[in-house]
Every structure is written in C-alpha cells, then in structure tokens.
C-alpha cells in the first residue's frame, strides 16, 4: 500500500515534469533550440497566480487563466526579442542567450517580489480521497495534477495532428525551408510554439506550487532542469516522449527518495538519464533518422 502511494505521488510529480517537458520538447522540435528560460516562466506564472489569489482575492480559476495569458505573452516577447534576432546565429549563441534570459527573469523576480519565499496557497479545492479503508490517501492536488496533464497531453496530440497550425508545426520541425515553400509562415509558427509552451508552463507552475508550496525566484530552475532531462529521456522533439519521460522521471525520483536516499534522489535521476542515453542516444521515443537517398 505504501508502494502504491509512492507510485501515485511519483506519477503526479512526473505529470508536472511532463507538462514542462512538453514546452522544452516542442520548442526544440520546431525552433531547434533549448529554451533554458522555460523553467523560469513557470516561476513567473506562479507569482502571478499568487498575487492574483492572495493579494487581489481573485478566484483561483480566473487567476490561472490570467497567468496563462500573461505567460503566453511573456513567451512570445522572449522569442521575439531574444531569440528571433538569432535565427541564423550559431546554436551556441542561442543557448547562451537562453541562459541569459533565464537569469534575467530570476533577477527581475528577485527585484520585484524579493528573495523571501512566499507560501503558496493551494488552488485545488478537492478534498483528499481515501481508498482501501483509509490506508491509501490521495490528495486532491495529486488527482487534479494527473487529470490535468492527461487532458493537456490528449489535447496537444489532437492539436498537432488535426489542426492546420499543428500540421504546420510538424512541417516546420522537419524542414523550415520546405515548410516555407508550402506557404507556412515559419516565424508565426515558432511564436505559436512558444505561446503554447509558456501557457503550459503557467499551468505547471500552479500545479507544482500547489503540491510544494514554497515560491521564490529560483522555484522554476530545478523543475526546469528536471523537465529538460525528462524531455531528453523520452526523446527530445517527441511529444509522447516528453510525457513518458516526465512520468518516469517523477516515479524514479519519488521511489529513490522513499527507498534509497532523499539526498541521492536527484543524482539517481540523472544517473538513469545517462544510462538511457548510453543505450538509446535518441531517448526512449526519439525518432530515428532513417532515410533512403
């Protein structure tokens, strides 16, 4: 029963990683860059919800919608002003810029909201569910997190495969030039990708802070790195890969904490990543390049 409880917690934490990893993987797939500022968008989104709920007294759902809208805007602005001018620059320049944007966001948050941690009030109003005669208790946050991430995943797969914008994303991710020749506006497709990724980051932030209620300017950094790991784990560029990678990472982390060592949990997570990459360099669900010429 204890094991089951850890497993559910792991899936829940992993669901948050998965939602963040989707942002990494979509941006990587389409813009071929690692947006290391993605984790910090989570933090900004969480602050927005915190202020809207705790200081302005808004209903949580409205606060989340506002946070998603503002994060979408933030994502588009970051792409437009930091990354778009570097479209034809070397990937190293883009990577360093992304790290710079990450520090910029963290320090702006420090400046605006201060260094002292805020205690985030959970936005989930669901009572814990008791199963097996009270021996298995699942918190409302856990349930909501898993359900929300499943909905996001299904919605995203539908969007990519069945809408014009989604098809455009697939085309751009494979060949920007050829996509342009089909009449696809590459710049607006990339902006759209950042918008979706950032809106998802806002959702991830709320779920994360509802489960782990300490909010400070560096809140997004570690989950960001872990979600990036999850994206690589599952096969960067692959949407189902981000999902699988995220869940596995969450489960491995919680199980390591429970059965091995709390201190070593993160080390174990990254060790597993290294092993997976040694065996399958493209990640679990990564696409193999198989082309006949």
């Amino acid at each position: 029963m204890e094991f089951l409880s850890y497993l559910i917690n792991g899936i829940s934490l992993g669901s948050v990683y998965a939602i963040i990893a989707l942002g990494y993987t979509m941006v990587y797939g389409i813009a071929k860059m690692l947006n290391f500022a993605h984790g910090d968008v989570i933090m900004v989104g969480s602050y927005i919800v915190f202020i809207a709920v705790n200081q302005m007294g808004m209903p949580p759902l409205l606060a989340i919608i506002i946070s998603m809208a503002l994060c979408t805007l933030l994502g588009i602005v970051i792409e437009r002003f930091a990354y778009k001018p570097l479209r034809s620059a070397s990937s190293l320049a883009v990577l360093i810029t992304a790290i710079g944007v990450s520090y910029l966001l963290q320090n702006l948050a420090l400046l605006i909201w201060g260094a002292d941690p805020k205690s985030f009030t959970s936005v989930v109003g669901l009572a814990p569910v008791q199963l097996a005669g009270g021996r298995l208790v699942i918190s409302g946050e856990t349930i909501v997190t898993i359900v929300v991430s499943a909905i996001i995943m299904a919605g995203l797969i539908f969007f990519v495969n069945n809408t014009k914008m989604g098809r455009a994303m697939l085309a751009v991710s494979e060949d920007k030039g050829a996509a342009q020749l089909m009449g696809i506006n590459v710049n607006s497709t990339i902006a759209m990708t950042f918008a979706i990724g950032s809106a998802l980051a806002a959702v991830a932030g709320v779920l994360l802070c509802s489960a782990y209620p300490t909010l400070q300017p560096t809140t997004g950094a570690m989950p960001g790195i872990k979600a990036f790991t999850a994206a690589v784990f599952g096969g960067i560029g692959s949407i189902p890969g981000a999902f699988v990678g995220g869940i596995l990472l969450g489960v491995i982390e919680i199980m390591s904490k429970a059965y091995i060592s709390t201190q070593l949990a993160d080390a174990i997570v990254f060790a597993v990543l290294i092993i997976v990459l040694l065996v399958r360099p493209t990640g679990l669900l990564g696409k193999k390049i198989s082309e006949k010429v």
């Binding site: 014009k164 085309a171 494979e174 030039g177 020749l181 082309e291």
Partner: protein, 238 residues
C-alpha cells in the same frame, strides 16, 4: 502568350560570395524554360531568390505583375509560384498522403476540391497512390522526386520551379520524371527548370539560358542551343 516571370539585373550574395551577378531573364506563360550550367554557376541561388528563400541584394523579380523580390517565401507561393526544391526535401516522417496535403496548405477552396486534386495527382503519379500510407523517408529517390512534384502541384500552381529533378536518379527514372514535367506543362503549368543534365533539359525546353559563374553566358531557343558548338562541348560532352 504573356510574360509570367521577369528577373531583371538580379544580384544575390551567399554570405560574402557574390553568387549571382546581374542576371536577367524571363519566362512566358505556357513555356518550359531551362537554366543550365555547371555546379556553382548560381542555378539554385537563382531559384531560391525567386521562391523567396533568399533575398536578393539588388535587382527585381516580377511574377504576374507582382514585385516579389523582397516578398516572404510563404506569401510568394500564394501567388501561384511553387518550387520543387533541390534534393526533394519531402517531409520524411510524414506519409505520402500527408506530404501531399501539406502541399495544399495555402488553399482555401475546401476539402472536397483538395481531395479531388489529390486524386488527380494520384492519377498522374500512380506509384504514389500505392504508397500513400508509407512514410516519405522510406521511398526511393525517384518516388521522392515524384512526391515533391506532386506536393507542389497540390497548391494548384500557375508556375513550377524545378531544381535539379534528375539529381541522383537512374537514366530510366530521369526519363520518367521529365515525361511528367512535360505532361504537367501540357496541362497549362508554366515551368522553369534548373538542370545539370543539359541534354535532357534542352530536349523538353522551349528556351534556355546558360549560366556560368553567376552570369548569363548564352540564351536562345533550346534546339538552337542544343546545336551550338560551345554548348555541345561544355555541357553535352560531344
């Protein structure tokens, strides 16, 4: 027959390399015009400047009365100017049919019209029909070339730019591809063809331009150029 495409005094740079120097040429409606020349003569650069993937430094390109020299690629195709790029560049992870529907991305005339044209492309290129559910990356080179042509046709172009369609194909397949190009042209699509295989290109073209190190060296009716002693020596190997 009106003029469809006019390129005037075009200059294009590839980084610091002056790849195209003051090129001028035109294509009339209904024609097959070919640009022939060796590797590095500037053929593909010219194509990319027309389709909008590269921006010219100076000079103008006009297509059906529109100044397209500084227009973005995704807008140029909406005017009815489609490019079949060098090396096919099909979407290898998508199926044949998905590739073809990607070609119809700009169309707004409804799903049934697009489905009808899909059948037309399949009739013209029956091998694609057999492989409609197959991933494009698993097709042979010739099939990928057919797919690239079919994909371009799906946008109902008025003019087709073809960049080295014969590249890497066996002589038999080259014949097949060139037959397709002729058929497409007979059905009213104007063609601008870039080729290293000058012999084949001059056979199907109405007029030709010979490019050498970024400039137009010679121009004229294709059959005249095919009999020109210099062209024969340099490009036809006889």
């Amino acid at each position: 027959m009106g003029e469809m495409l006019r390129v005037s005094d075009l200059n294009v740079f590839y980084g610091s390399i002056h790849a195209i120097k003051d090129i001028s040429f035109h294509v009339n409606e209904g024609e097959i015009v070919t640009l022939i020349g060796a590797n590095g003569a500037g053929k593909t650069t010219t194509m990319h400047a027309i389709s909008g993937l590269l921006k010219p430094k100076s000079g103008t390109i006009d297509f059906l009365g529109n100044r397209i020299s500084q227009m973005e690629a995704h807008k140029i195709i909406r005017l009815g100017l489609a490019q079949v790029p060098e090396g096919r560049r099909v979407f290898s992870h998508l199926t044949v049919q998905e590739n073809l529907s990607m070609g119809a991305f700009t169309r707004k005339d409804g799903a049934s019209a697009i489905a009808q044209d899909l059948e037309m492309v399949f009739d013209r290129l029956p091998r694609l029909k057999e492989r409609r559910k197959q991933q494009a990356g698993t097709l042979s080179g010739g099939e990928q070339q057919m797919l690239a042509i079919g994909r371009a046709l799906m946008c109902k172009p008025k003019m087709l730019l073809l960049d080295e369609p014969s590249m890497g194909l066996s002589p038999l397949l080259v014949k097949e591809i060139f037959k397709i190009i002729e058929d497409v042209n007979k059905d009213g699509v104007t063609v601008l063809l870039v080729e290293q295989n000058a012999k084949m290109a001059l056979e199907i073209a109405d007029r030709a331009y010979v490019l050498e190190t970024g400039t137009v060296k010679m121009e004229g009716p294709a059959d005249e150029l095919a009999n020109n002693i210099e062209v024969r020596k340099a490009y036809l190997g006889c």
